[in-house]
């Protein structure tokens, strides 16, 4: 029996070591690895054009792997585990990532959300202003930029969160419950937004909120370790994004065409969606990254603390150190 026990303990030790080394290994890729893994949400911005034109594979100069995710939360998990090197996500997940000490840098503003995210109410719900939301059922995907915008809209209009029945629904489920009249309003994005607008009225949108200082955007983040090992890849990535934004702003028809093909949607829809964001050129990027976005992320994180979603938010300096314009500067030289 004693011998058996010894054997067993040895086996157990091996097992534990195996698990530990596995955990350690999966923590990150080899630094000499000549590749990049890009996480995308297929948001309507330059990223889609670059994907459609196959620029990443052709021009980044390393092996490219593109992985599609469903939410910024998944992008965060993938970055934290070292599964991807560059990812795109909303300002809310990005603020979360920094607040949770995931070692990332924000290096690109892919788009600033305008009417792309809109609070729509059912036509017959009687909701016209945000104050009318009291006692109503309002759905939004929690932890998203839309959720952040909705909560800020309520706050700015003096509506207590507890006065509104907030429901955590993914866009598909929002459409389903909207049709069943289970909800009165929803803060959501395209393409579901289009479906809701058919029998809904706009209460507010992220463009209006941005004017009041509640900025939401989609940004690109990079694992710091990757950025340090492969700055040229990140720089090239930014060059491609700048080129894409140039097309969006100067040749919107071509941009709409590319995006409609990539997402397999109508060109008119793509054009409409493109208009609901704003896309920044190099000068604007530098201006925003240097002077605005650290504060935007800090505000977002502070708000999440207020919501008791996260324990605490780091100070502004930390956010500043995690937002960099260096790649845009290098790329636009």
């Amino acid at each position: 029996m004693k011998q058996n026990f010894r054997k067993f303990s040895a086996l157990f030790l091996v097992l534990v070591l195996a698990v530990l080394s596995f955990a350690a290994c999966s923590g990150g890729k080899n630094k000499d690895d000549n590749s990049v893994t890009i996480g995308t949400l297929d948001l309507v911005n330059g990223d889609l054009i670059a994907q459609y034109e196959d620029w990443y594979a052709k021009e980044l100069g390393v092996d490219v792997k593109i992985i599609r995710f469903d939410s910024g939360k998944d992008i965060n998990s993938a970055i934290a585990s070292g599964g991807i090197d560059i990812g795109q996500e909303g300002t809310s997940p990005a603020a979360l990532a920094i607040a949770n000490d995931i070692d990332v840098e924000v290096f690109w503003v892919a788009d600033v959300i305008g009417s792309a995210e809109t609070l729509v109410a059912k036509k017959d719900s009687g909701i016209k202003t945000i104050k009318d939301l009291k006692g109503k059922k309002v759905a939004t995907p929690f932890a998203s930029t839309a959720h952040y915008s909705l909560l800020n809209a309520l706050k700015q209009n003096g509506v207590a969160e507890t006065d509104v029945e907030l429901l955590d629904l993914q866009p598909d489920d929002i459409f389903a419950t909207w049709q069943r009249n289970d909800i009165d309003a929803a803060y959501v994005w395209y393409p579901v937004l289009d479906n809701l607008l058919a029998d809904g009225v706009v209460v507010t949108d992220s463009a209006q909120l941005a004017e009041q200082g509640v900025i939401t955007a989609d940004v690109n983040v990079v694992r710091r370790a990757y950025a340090e090992a492969h700055p040229e890849v990140v720089q090239k990535f930014v060059e491609l994004q700048l080129r894409a934004n140039d097309i969006i702003n100067k040749q919107p028809d071509i941009a709409a065409q590319d995006i409609s093909k990539k997402l397999e949607i109508e060109e008119a829809d793509a054009a409409k969606q493109l208009k609901s964001f704003s896309y920044l050129d190099a000068a604007q990027q530098i201006e925003q990254l240097d002077n605005v976005f650290a504060q935007v992320l800090k505000d977002t994180a502070d708000f999440l603390v207020e919501q008791k979603s996260i324990k605490s938010a780091p100070d502004l300096e930390t956010f500043q150190s995690k937002v960099t314009s260096e790649f845009v500067k290098a790329a636009s030289k």
């Binding site: 029996m1 026990f5 067993f8 157990f12 534990v16 698990v19 530990l20 955990a23 350690a24 939360k73 965060n76 934290a80 585990s81 979360l96 990532a97 949770n100 000490d101 995931i102 759905a139 929690f142 932890a143 507890t162 029945e165 907030l166 429901l167 955590d168 629904l169 993914q170 598909d172 489920d173 389903a176 419950t177 049709q179 069943r180 289970d182 909800i183 999440l304 008791k308 979603s309 996260i310 324990k311």
Partner: protein
């Protein structure tokens, strides 16, 4: 085998648990992993204290647990009153089985999330669709265990009852049901596990309370400490519920393992 106290098996069980805890302590103490990847036992404990004192997003910990358990128990009760009789009947009567089998065979391998949206469309975002999802998840394993339980009964049991003068229904109630009970309970235990794993999915849509929702919401905000806490609580309550069923089984199926 019924040695009391410290058998080698018990020592191994305890050693395993202790080792896992030590590994957890050790790993987090090295600081090699961020709190997001592996939260330390300390922060998990702190979040437990915090959530039990201050609640999580509008509900106390007990309310979250209670909401989930309520859903679980209602769905489980529905499973017991439907899947057990239908499964037993199905095993006993090939015509009943011919009607029910295609339905169950079809939906059983489907992942719950695949048809959840349809359930939401049909039943709305309130408790109905959540209960339906849990019910469907639990139904199949119980039904299948009941069918198998009846099929496994030695035919002499049924012949014996026939030669004593029992009719079909008497055989069903006095012989088939008790003889299949061991398998019924195996099915019930499996179903509880399956329902528990489905709970998180069920609370993904439009929930504002429940342990599954708590874990999901915390994971949205990368609150791994709360996720760990929630998962540990769910694990422990799962074990307790399973023990409860085993206890009831021992009371009812007193002959189990003694034949």
């Amino acid at each position: 085998m019924k040695k009391k106290g410290f058998t080698i098996e018990r020592v191994l069980t305890i050693a395993t648990v202790v080792l896992i805890f030590l590994a957890w302590f050790g790993l987090t103490a090295t600081g090699a992993f961020s709190e997001t990847i592996i939260p330390s036992p300390k922060s998990v404990l702190e979040s437990l204290v915090d959530v039990s004192q201050n609640g999580y997003k509008g509900h106390t910990l007990l309310q979250h647990l209670g909401t989930s358990l309520k859903r679980l128990i209602i769905a489980y009760g529905l499973v017991i009153v439907t899947a057990v009789p239908l499964g037993l009947l199905s095993g006993y009567n090939s015509k009943v089985q011919a009607i029910l089998d295609p339905i169950i065979e079809f939906y059983r391998p489907l992942p719950p999330l695949a048809y959840y949206t349809i359930l939401v469309l049909w039943m709305g975002i309130d408790e109905g669709s959540k209960l339906a999802l849990l019910f469907l998840a639990g139904f199949a394993p119980v039904y299948i265990a009941c069918v198998a339980g009846v099929k496994r009964i030695k035919e002499d049991y049924i012949y014996g009852a026939e030669t004593l003068g029992a009719n079909k229904w008497q055989i069903f109630f006095y012989v088939i049901i008790p003889a299949a009970l061991t398998d019924v309970f195996t099915g019930l235990r499996t179903a509880l596990g399956v329902e528990y794993t489905t709970l998180v999915a069920a609370e993904m849509v439009a929930a504002t309370a429940g342990m599954g929702w708590l874990v999901l919401d915390a994971s949205n905000y990368l609150r791994s400490d709360i996720v760990f806490m929630g998962v540990i609580i769910m694990g422990i309550t799962g074990i307790l519920l399973d023990r409860l069923i085993q206890f009831i089984e021992k009371r009812i199926v007193h002959w189990k393992g003694r034949t």
